[in-house]
């Protein structure tokens, strides 16, 4: 890999992109073997991997819009990295298509005979039916890809010379974009994960789905920045102050995720209505109870207790370790949301989960990387760039 510090361009991306693409394809091929071995298990594994990666990309999209709306200056140096992390969205749309062939394996509501015999599902069939499900998914991806595309291109247009209209365009796009984003993400969470258990409902589920993604993207940004700096990219521009801010956000959204997760659990636990508690009951059976505990202690208590310290947030090395850990926890969270519908008696972990996650992940990283090296790695003409580089926490 070659980096030109004068133009801020990675002139030669090396083999990394190709390695990731091949890894992704091998992972997907192995997952396809899984399809032949155990069709049901494959689709659940694939869904877990898919929602895991798609929430990270959505977190990136949200982060970019948030920075524009708040006119943040500290984040200008990392903006191009996050913008490029939205690049996998069109590919994730392609990777969504296989799920449409697994509707019968995944979703109870896709069986006409089951729906006909069930009053609740019948009442919900206007919303939960394969045709509308597909249309909605297309709409979500159209919105997300559109927003990501326009924001990215407004940003790279700025590189050749800043004009005030560039910033205005990004900001005016972000305001309605944020609203549409929230609506589509909420519905996507309901569609893909909540409807696995079509009798169950939680009005806060969409926020839960989103909060995990935002948490994971903050961790992902830390990882990407730390890896880039190890290769000598942006070593002077991204300082410990930026790590500190990312760490603070990661810490803050650990609490946000917990707040949402607990709100969901608490109300259902208190009300004690069978159709609501069932979802948690399923996650309390056999070894699922252990996974639930891992989520509580590992997704909240541990990162909270560690990230609270200033020293951790200001040490790129320690923060990187925490970030990797957080991404793994995010995966466990998605596994915990999807799989209890299939394996009702307990955890049956298999290699298919790993193959599917690596498969989609390889494509994800490859799409990010090719986009990232195609332009300058920071918004070189942004008027706030200098301020961002010299930014310091009080």
């Amino acid at each position: 890999m070659k980096f030109d510090p004068a133009t801020y361009k990675i002139t030669d991306g090396g083999k990394f992109g190709r390695i990731m693409l091949v890894t992704g394809l091998i992972g997907l091929a192995l997952a396809a073997v899984g399809f032949a071995v155990d069709r049901e298990h494959f689709f659940f594994a694939y869904l877990t991997a898919f929602t895991f990666w798609v929430t990270i990309a959505l977190g990136a999209l949200f982060f970019v819009m948030l920075q524009h709306l708040t006119s943040s200056t500290w984040s200008v140096v990392i903006r191009r990295i996050v913008e490029s992390l939205t690049a996998p969205l069109p590919w994730l749309f392609l990777l969504f298509i296989p799920l449409l062939f697994g509707l019968h394996q995944l979703y109870e509501w896709s069986h006409a005979d089951v729906v006909a015999a069930d009053a609740v599902l019948k009442a919900k069939s206007g919303f939960l039916n394969p045709t509308f499900f597909t249309i909605r998914a297309v709409v979500y991806f159209a919105v997300w890809c559109g927003l990501a595309h326009f924001l990215y291109h407004a940003s790279v247009a700025q590189d050749s010379g800043h004009r005030e209209e560039h910033r205005k365009r990004m900001r005016t796009l972000s305001a309605p974009g944020m609203i549409i984003f929230v609506i589509t993400t909420t519905f996507a969470g309901w569609d893909w994960l909540m409807s696995l258990d079509p009798h169950w409902y939680s009005t806060i589920f969409g926020v839960y789905f989103f909060s995990g993604g935002l948490w994971a993207i903050l961790a992902t940004i830390v990882i990407v920045v730390a890896l880039l700096q190890r290769r000598g990219v942006l070593t002077k521009e991204i300082t410990v102050e930026h790590y500190h801010d990312l760490g603070k956000l990661l810490f803050g959204f650990t609490i946000f995720w917990t707040y949402i997760g607990f709100s969901q659990y608490f109300l259902q636990w208190y009300a004690n209505i069978p159709e609501e508690t069932k979802w948690y009951l399923n996650r309390w059976v056999g070894s699922w109870k252990a996974v639930s505990m891992v989520i509580l202690w590992g997704h909240f208590v541990l990162p909270f207790g560690i990230l609270i310290f200033r020293g951790v947030k200001r040490s790129p090395r320690l923060l990187m370790i925490m970030a990797v850990y957080c991404v793994v926890m995010h995966w466990v969270d998605h596994y915990w949301m999807a799989f209890p519908t299939l394996n009702k008696d307990g955890v049956h972990f298999s290699w298919i989960e790993i193959a599917a996650t690596v498969g989609i992940g390889g494509i994800f990283v490859w799409a990010f990387w090719t986009k990232f090296i195609s332009r300058a790695v920071i918004p070189v003409a942004d008027p706030h760039l200098n301020e961002s580089i010299n930014f310091r926490n009080m």
């Binding site: 607990f262 608490f266 636990w269 208190y270 004690n272 310091r392 009080m394």
Partner: protein, 180 residues
Amino acid sequence: MSARTQVYGMIAEFESPGALLSAAEKMRDAGYTTFDCHSPFPIHGMDTAMGLKRSIVGYVAGICGLAGGSFGLALQWWTSVVDYPLVISGKPFFSYQAFVPVTFALTVLCAAIGVVIAMLVTNGLPRLFHGWFYSSRFTRFSNDGFFVSVEVGDKRYDPVKTKAFLESIGGTHVEVVQGE
């Protein structure tokens, strides 16, 4: 002036925030500890320039929060398990899930109150009077003036040497502040 005139210390004026920042560094390096910098707005990097240590307020918040949370949990355990056990919708007496909101709220409350008190104790506020107010030049600190002040209690305070030092690092209008 009456016989009770008291010397509070010395102030020196500087031209710009940058000059103040470098003056603060030199004061620190010269070994002054009881000195302060005054400017109409916060200056980035001033804490390090003055050699100030990290505030203990954060740790006070942590300890008060833990204490408040433990108290909240203990209070609910004692009232609903020991003192007045009552079955509510068939749930166990010690339903920790139900105790989370109060525990959380008391954690935040105690941490917040602790932080405010710790902040007031460590910065010495509220304080209605300070000797610097005797200096008429000093009133500009909230408008366009940048000042370094050395208290008379500083180990290195010396009427002659400190004045010379303040002038050597670029201070003007060095003034010994005294009043009743």
